[in-house]
Subunit: 309 residues, 2 copies
């Protein structure tokens, strides 16, 4: 029973998990969809109700019958490395590859459908509420007057991207930013704008959830700090225990979103409450593991390598 | 309780359903995501566990609390009509719109996640098998030698697109084509290729399934005809009864794919067997209704307008 790791070539986080899988003696194939067709090949046959398929690359073959799990880490665009790449070839190849993988009994971390739905922040906020997390008051609007009213009501508000990084090569990261008191909101009419009550935090929390294991790390914040993800804040990530009610909320959230993996960001306020900011279904964990020693890669490998129930 | 119809301006099929909804006295808002932001506006507020949202266009407002159903017909690209359109604005607007709609209790025809998964033909073939449809032997491969072998084994084979129409403006339709006996298969290495045993058919069948209602139409085929979707074949679509075992298979298929709507294409062979060719989750039904008088638009309107259970 093989584990399929879909990722690009330069991916240190995948290297960590692959090393763990080797250590655990679990067979795996590492495959970049960008290499299909080309050095990668695929075949699937549907005859008399039977389905047989395989993927191959560099002499390694993953049979679809023996597929234990699929890890979607950071896969390239299908057919991106083809001799004659085109938008249509990428679409055809994506349908062939992911359609074939959907025919298997493999477990997914995470399934593309669940991932696509879980990326949308408005739905994240709703599910977070329903799962029992405290969530800062949030407004998403194209109405300048409503943005103005929200900012007046909560005084300290931040603005953030709705969808995360902007597309482009390289994608541009957009740090969460404090809205000044005299802000001009007329631009809100030009793009849906997400405003959120600013949480005065004493620390950032990153909780990485892998199956039913949850790993939390904490980084102290300077007073008034807004987005601790960028630049040097003078503090390090340190392991921290996961409160039982947070673990319960994480489990409810992952159940509703059908995610096997999620990287949750919280702001810890002066009372110790963890405020839900977002859950990134494909969030990095390498930096947390390297700074804290939390055995996340091993947990991912164990989840991927688990025998079918 | 409002029905939300997401489609572009010029959509005769949507017009038919909108007319039925008016007749049934069901309130509706017709909205093109391309008009957001601009003539269309959106606002969603997440405060203390409550969620309140609305969409508005041309003085009509759809409250998210009173949303009965969402019909995704032929929506434009979000923000396509914006004053300063960009890829990033489209992504942000799509997340805002569809993420907000996911926060509601509305029923979907069809939900974007189900639609995306159901578009992939390899998975369609697998689900069709499992649902009890007869499916012609099919190969999907990047190996020229396997394509050659499949063609030799089945003699009459057709080649078709894996993903449907090619992208582009306008998209290029790719009719299913017979593979000549002396075909050169070396090009298979350049793109995943879908080969299927040719079904010698006496008719094309289009079955349109709306909730638990199934409408079938039949068009006689000339001997040797391959793809009856294009050009004038000299025959008309006529209503035909849905065999009970086909209805059961359709229901199994729609349950597994979580589709509320599907347009199924079959080839009827000389024994009367309906061979599954594909299910288009967003397939047209206007032409079938106009030629056959089958009341499909009314069925769609009734499904969309049904009171919550």
């Amino acid at each position: 029973m093989t584990v399929l790791v879909l990722t690009c070539e330069a991916d240190v986080t995948a290297d960590m998990v692959v090393a763990e899988l080797h250590e655990q003696g679990v067979p795996l194939v590492r495959f970049d969809p960008a290499d299909l067709p080309g050095t990668g090949a695929l075949s699937a046959e549907y005859v008399r109700g039977e389905f047989r398929g395989y993927l191959s690359i560099g002499g390694r073959v993953a049979s679809m019958q023996g597929l234990r799990s699929v890890w979607i880490r950071r896969p390239g665009e299908p057919a991106a490395h083809a001799a004659e790449p085109s938008e249509w070839l990428s679409v055809e190849t994506a349908h062939a590859l992911y359609g074939m993988l959907d025919c298997t009994d493999a477990r997914w971390m995470n399934h593309p459908s669940a991932a696509a739905k879980a990326r949308r922040k408005p739905w994240q906020l709703r599910v977070a509420h329903q799962s029992g997390f405290p969530v800062p008051a949030t407004l998403l609007t194209t109405h300048p007057s409503m943005a103005r009213q929200f900012a007046d009501q909560y005084r300290n508000v931040v603005v953030k991207s709705v969808s995360g990084k902007s597309p482009g090569d390289p994608p541009m990261a957009l740090p969460t930013t404090l809205v000044p008191p005299d802000a001009d909101f007329s631009g809100v009419a030009a793009a849906p704008t997400l405003l959120q009550r600013y949480v005065a935090k004493r620390a950032d929390i990153r909780l990485t959830s892998v199956g039913d294991q949850h790993f939390a790390a904490r980084k102290a914040a300077e007073p008034g700090q807004v987005d601790g993800r960028y630049g040097d804040t003078g503090h390090e990530w340190e392991p921290v225990e996961v409160p039982a009610q947070v673990a319960r909320a994480v489990e409810a959230y992952k159940k509703q979103t059908e995610l096997a993996y999620g990287a949750f960001d919280f702001a810890e306020d002066s009372t110790g409450t963890w405020w839900f900011l977002e859950c990134n279904q494909g969030g990095q964990f390498g930096f947390v593991e390297l700074e804290t020693g939390l055995p996340i890669a091993r947990a991912v490998a164990s989840w991927l390598g688990a025998e079918p129930a």
